[in-house]
């Protein structure tokens, strides 16, 4: 009988304790960020999709068309093509396509790149209605940025 009453009282007390906790939070300020009205800064290491890096001296992409990123990519979403040109050492980049529909944002391509010619972009608002919009021509994107 005493156990029965004790359980009722302790149980009821536990319920009131719970109510006390939630009402305290009710009067505390909200902690959420009102996206899209407010946004948080992305960390410098954020891994977005990749972007070509420009050579500051020549204004051309740093890429030497070695194809390491293409080989490292687990999803085969990178296509790199280059050609030999008169008077230029090494190959010149003609095509760099990223099929973002397949990309899993693992970052292995950036790591495999010896001349540090690709980097992560900080774009995260990536929404669209057409699949084709996600086959990025990174060379054009770099030229458009200039």
């Amino acid at each position: 009988m005493i156990d029965y009453l004790r359980e009722i009282i302790s149980g009821t007390w536990s319920l009131f304790v719970g109510l006390g906790i939630t009402i305290r939070y009710f009067f505390q300020p909200v902690v959420t960020v009102q996206y899209p009205h407010e946004t948080l800064p992305m960390t410098p290491r954020f891994r977005g999709h990749i972007e070509l890096v420009k050579d500051e001296e020549t204004g051309e992409p740093k890429c030497i068309v070695c194809g390491m990123c293409q080989k490292a990519c687990p999803s085969n979403c990178i296509t790199v093509n280059g050609e030999k040109r008169e008077g230029v050492k090494g190959k010149v980049l003609t095509e760099y396509t990223l099929d973002f529909t397949k990309c899993s944002l693992c970052g292995l391509c950036v790591e495999s790149c010896t001349p540090k010619a690709i980097t992560f972009s900080k774009d995260y608002n990536l929404a669209g209605v057409r699949k084709e919009a996600y086959i990025f021509d990174l060379k054009k994107r770099l030229e458009a940025k200039n």
Partner: protein, 330 residues
Amino acid sequence: MYVDPEIIRLLAFLIGVIAFAALNAAYLVWLERKEAAHIQRRIGPKEVGPFGLFQPLVDGIKLMTKQLIVPAGVDPVLFKIAPILVMVPAIMSFVTIPFSDTLVARNLDIGLLAIFAFASVNVLGLLLGAWGSRNKYAVISAARVVSQNVAYEIPMLVTVVTLVMISGTMNLSKIVGLQMGGFWHWNIFNFSASPLMPVAFLIFFVCMLAETNRAPFDMAEAESELVAGAFTEYSGMGFGVFFMGEYANIVIGASVATILFLGGWDCPFGLFPGVHWFLIKMYFLIFTVIWIRWTYPRTTFYGLLNLSWKILIPISFVNLILTSAMLKVF
């Protein structure tokens, strides 16, 4: 042409009651969302109008414009009649509720009995809707609704009988009239009738939560177990009417608790009694109902049966016997 002013008065009250029920249903959803959000440290609806105040309007338009899908194989009559069976008794109950000493549609001498009679129809509505929708989850929910009904009605009515004994009437206005003149006259603190009155209030409040299918007793809806329980097959306004009926029932429950225990429109300090005190007390109780929902996990129906038969019913009977003994002695 002579029209009895009583009829006009009743019509005006009817329209007022329906408007009050509908407005409450709409804005209690808003209150629920806001309160839940702030308990969880979010903001809640804020885009439609200032503080999201037009959200219920937009929600209503959305529900009304949606197609009312009647799935193949349902019982067409029961499926359509069920939401109405939940909504109409709730509105009818409003007729007998005195908001102040003058603001009452029909001051019945058996007002209390009428409210409990109407409240039981709510269960029938849920049962028919769930059974008629030919969905396994809904059928399980229907069985739960009925077992839940058995569990909470007994302690609730025993508590109400205690109060009727104290007041000697079932007329809601008279019950409030006996509690006028400050909070020490309210039934909840009526220690001269029985020292267990605050406990009786708790029992009544718990049963009211179960009656209105609110958390932690929302086993009939139990979205993590039964998807949406009785409402699984309902869409559009069919679901909307169920929803409105549910909130109207909460308002009824809070009003009855206010009238029976918290002195209705009486001011706690004996000053300026009036309808505003009634509304303050009623909305405080509704706030508590919502607050409870966002604090506790759900019980199970055998948990409710255990609670009812092992705790609520014995205590409410002890209270009944104690009250009758004390009425006899004093």
